[in-house]
């Protein structure tokens, strides 16, 4: 029996067998393109039908994205807050119940191990979601605290509903209280008697919600949402569409825009929160936390490290993987994520650059783009300007109550 179940949950078309999320059958039914990839051991869609349509559903209607492959850790116990204050750089004591915070955790050198979202479900009950697996690190960090760490990745599944009509869709589904749900807040409710935890969060910079539930109710839930969403333009999407939206929102991803310190082999690849532009998360006034001493010390020295910058690039060519030059000749870094932004109508990029302390270099940056046009490369040298992320700023993202459309 167990063997049969294993077979059903895993997909063997990849070189290693991949898990199937409880939503797999639903997404597979929407798929016409057959682009799948391995996300954290799960068979996940890159593109389901049409990348551009999928992207525009995020920005103009309502998109459905499967976030089940995220690692989800439940942290429960009388010292859960103290434990998380040692683990992460933000001050968890300041995080209210029923809120979500974006956070980071570091090693002893102050180098970022990963980022993630921390859900405070009650005083002593948290959920931490992250891109990478961290169970050994969490358990080792919990030594000395009255806290239990439960890896619920395989027992809890999640869906992200993102887009301008997502709030009205949830209203239609009878979710009371959606109007009062502010960004980065959460509550527990039911849709057609299905218990869910719903939070106003997402990875798109748009109005949107993330909904977690037990695996056994996944099918019933998605069927209910899908049927209700016909008039709201509900569209199932893959990773490529989400990736475009997240670059526009200026969000970084571990092991794409920076190398997690426990993956980095070369010592100069590790990054501190300041280098990622996330220094504002770090609360140096709270008690001890992992990496505190190193972060404090690093502030005293002149940082020679690479830092992440948001860039706007002249012209229309996306600059994925390109090299950035100072004065068109000295290499200063590489582009880690880039697209042509349909919303900003610009070529935008996230890049890691080593500019040192002199501001003057920022004025004279260029990117070398190899643009493949009908089997011939056109080598372009385009002017780069450093901007403050996000690339797009949507009022509906934080409007409360969200408009009814």
């Amino acid at each position: 029996m167990t063997q049969l179940k294993e077979k059903k949950d895993r997909d063997t078309t990849f070189s290693k067998p991949l898990f199937r999320s409880p939503f797999y059958d639903f997404f597979a039914a929407q798929e016409t393109e057959g682009h799948w990839y391995d996300w954290n051991g799960y068979k996940s869609p890159t593109i389901l039908s049409d990348e551009e349509l999928e992207y525009f559903s995020i920005r103009s209607t309502c998109s459905v994205f499967d976030i089940t492959p995220l690692n989800k850790y439940r942290i429960v116990g009388s010292q859960a807050e103290e434990f998380l204050n040692k683990l992460t750089v933000r001050n968890v004591a300041k995080q209210n119940v029923a809120t979500v915070k974006y956070t980071l955790w570091c090693d002893q050198e102050g180098f970022v191990i990963d980022d993630g979202t921390l859900f405070r479900i009650s005083d002593n009950d948290f959920r931490l979601c992250s891109q990478e697996k961290h169970l050994p690190w969490l358990i080792d960090t919990s030594h000395g605290f009255d806290v239990e760490i439960i890896d619920e990745s395989k027992h809890v599944c999640g869906i992200s509903l993102q887009g301008p009509t997502s709030a009205s869709l949830l209203r239609l589904l009878g979710v009371n209280g959606i109007d009062n749900l502010k960004p980065f807040h959460l509550f527990q409710t039911k849709i057609s008697n299905i218990p869910i935890m719903i939070s106003r969060t997402g990875f798109t910079g748009d109005l949107g919600y993330e909904i977690f539930m037990k695996n056994n109710v996944a099918n019933k839930f998605i069927e209910r949402v899908w049927n209700a969403g016909t008039n709201h333009g509900i569209t199932a999407i893959g990773y490529n569409a989400l990736n475009m939206a997240r670059i526009e929102a200026g969000f970084i991803v571990a092991n794409i825009d920076f190398i997690s310190s426990d993956h980095a082999i070369r010592p100069n690849r590790c990054r501190r929160p300041d280098d990622l532009g996330l220094g504002w998360l770090v609360d140096l006034n709270k008690g001890f936390f992992n990496g505190k001493k190193a972060i404090l010390n690093s502030k005293l020295e002149d940082s020679e490290a690479f830092k992440i910058y948001a860039l706007e690039i002249d012209g229309k060519e996306p600059a994925e993987g390109s090299v950035i030059y100072y004065n068109k000749k000295d290499e200063v870094g590489t582009v880690t994520s880039a697209i042509w932004s349909p919303m900003a109508k610009k070529s935008i990029a996230l890049a890691q650059l080593k500019l040192g302390s002199s501001k003057s270099k920022m004025e004279n940056l260029w990117v070398e783009i190899y643009s493949l046009k009908e089997l011939q490369y056109h080598k372009l040298m385009k002017k780069v300007s450093i901007v403050k992320p996000p690339f797009i700023n949507l009022a509906r993202r934080s409007a409360c109550p969200p408009s009814n459309c």
């Binding site: 103290e82 090693d107 002893q108 000395g144 001890f288 001493k293």
Partner: protein, 520 residues
């Protein structure tokens, strides 16, 4: 809250050395001890009818000449064995080998050619032990400690080794990670001699003679012989106590305040700075500098608390191998027992039962699987009980039993008796009157040592003395220079470099480091 310049935790020999040395520099020093007297694992306990002796430390090894000179200990009555201690390798079937002092400078009971080969081998061993000897008194170069002086010292050590010549240097590199079994089997043939050397290389360390790197255990031991005060061992009769008393007097004369039965429950730490200590009885003391001579496991996990430490460090501390593997059997006898050939035992000898290399190895095999050895190896000293005691004429046999598991498969309830009887019946074979004369026995197992002497795992050396936990990896990377990530907190116990026995350099090095680093 009473305030001091320095608080030292633990009145073992390293704690006493640090306290005395820092007090001599004019600092006001408080020494806190959980037990009711000083000496740590070398302290004297009442064993039988008011008779007191060190319960654990019988091992009459040497003490560092640097410690003796630095603290001026020779003005107190240190008791040494003037002629050195000879070792008898007990062998029931054949004649016993008598191993001369200074690790076999002379040997009785082996063939002439064998002795010639041994002489060459011994010389090589001592030559190579120079590496440890010269590193022992240095503060390890580590992540926090990279001064020009420490780097230069390390460079000079390497240069000196290289200057011994290419061949010798290559020989060192060839041998340094080898097992002692291969080395002695290459050169020697006398079974009990090979057993004895294997025993000495692995006593107190969780390795067998055939485990790679077990040769390091021997090098370590030899380096201590060389660096001992006048290359002499402490006397079997009261040497350990004379050393501990000398340290206490020295500390007292330098003005150290003592608090006994003052077990520290936690350090007072704010924002990664240690400012004081809290005792179990509720008392609190404050100081700018706190030095812990207790085990690194106890220091970091119990006193500092994982809450105040990087996960990286607590991971490494928790991964230390600190389960003790040696037990101590004390027996009080009516008189010195007679041997089977009706000769009297010489109380100035050390007796080792390790009849062959295979015997030591199979003992270790049992330890690996948490079982009792079927024929346990041990070393034994006899010390006369002074005439003032009511036990006039009696002797105490201090027996160290190698390879006693910390957590035995099954439980200790009956096994304790079994282990004790095994050892006694071995001695009995060779001294038939032994059992008859027994007045008192007590066996202290590793987990009992842990409880009684407040040392995690009950390990003599606080953590294994092996290749991955020496020098800048002792107790572990990042805290090897006696400082810790908690400002104001230093460590100086056996768990720090160079550690080991009653040598005392851990304490002295730590004191030097503190004097160099901090002002009053």
């Amino acid at each position: 809250m009473k305030s001091y310049d320095v608080i030292v935790i633990g009145a073992g020999h390293n704690g006493l050395i640090v306290a005395s040395k820092l007090a001599a520099s004019g600092r006001r020093v408080l020494l806190l001890e959980a037990g009711d007297t000083y000496g740590g694992m070398a302290r004297s306990e009442v064993l039988f009818e008011g008779f007191q002796a060190p319960e654990l430390a019988s091992n009459a090894g040497g003490i560092s000449k640097d410690v003796v000179q630095d603290l001026g200990l020779n003005k107190y009555d240190l008791l040494f064995n003037e002629d050195g201690i000879k070792t008898v390798g007990l062998n029931i079937e054949n004649e016993s080998v008598i191993f001369g002092s200074n690790f076999g400078k002379s040997i009785e009971g082996i063939r002439k050619e064998e002795f010639k080969r041994w002489k060459e081998l011994r010389e090589k061993f001592f030559n190579q032990s120079h590496l440890f000897q010269s590193l022992a008194s240095q503060i390890p170069v580590g992540s926090n400690h990279k001064t020009v002086r420490s780097k230069a010292n390390l460079f000079l050590t390497a240069a000196k080794l290289r200057l011994q010549g290419k061949e010798q240097f290559q020989e060192l590199l060839r041998m340094i990670t080898m097992c002692i079994a291969d080395l002695v089997e290459e050169e020697l043939e006398t079974s009990s001699l090979k057993g004895l050397i294997s025993f000495d290389s692995t006593l107190g360390i969780k390795l067998g003679p055939r485990s790679p790197t077990s040769y390091l255990g021997l090098l370590y031991k030899l380096s201590q012989i060389k660096a001992s005060y006048q290359e002499k061992s402490l006397s079997i009769n009261g040497g350990v106590t004379s050393f501990i008393n000398a340290l206490f007097k020295s500390a007292e004369e330098n003005g150290v305040d003592f608090v006994f039965k003052g077990k520290v429950s936690s350090l007072i730490i704010s924002d990664s700075v240690a400012t004081g200590v809290k005792l179990e009885n509720g008392a609190e003391y404050s100081a700018k500098t706190i030095v812990s001579s207790i085990s690194p496991v106890n220091t970091f996990l119990d006193l500092v608390g994982a809450q105040n430490l990087e996960t990286d460090l607590t991971r490494r501390i928790r991964a230390l191998r600190y389960s003790g593997n040696t037990s101590k059997l004390n027996i009080i006898l009516e008189e010195i027992p007679k041997l089977h050939n009706s000769q009297n035992l010489d109380a100035n000898y050390r007796y080792v039962y390790a009849p062959s290399l295979d015997s030591v190895e199979s003992n270790f095999n049992s330890l690996k699987y948490n079982e009792l050895p079927s024929d346990p190896n041990f070393e034994m000293y006899f010390s006369k009980i002074s005439s003032e005691s009511s036990l006039n004429g009696a002797v105490m046999a201090s027996i160290c039993i190698q390879n006693t598991p910390y957590s035995l498969k099954g439980d200790w309830k009956n096994s304790k008796e079994v282990l004790m009887n095994k050892v006694i019946s071995t001695i009995q074979k060779w001294a038939p009157e032994f059992k008859k004369g027994i007045l008192f026995t007590s066996l202290l197992l590793p987990h009992e040592t842990e409880k009684k002497y407040c040392v995690a795992g009950g390990h003599w050396h606080h953590s294994e003395l092996q290749i991955d936990s020496l020098y800048s990896l002792r107790p572990t990377f990042g805290v090897s220079d006696y400082s810790t990530p908690i400002d104001g907190l230093f460590i100086c116990g056996a768990g720090t470099h160079p550690g080991g026995n009653l040598f005392g350099l851990s304490g002295l090095n730590a004191a030097k480091r503190i004097l160099r680093e901090s002002t009053k």
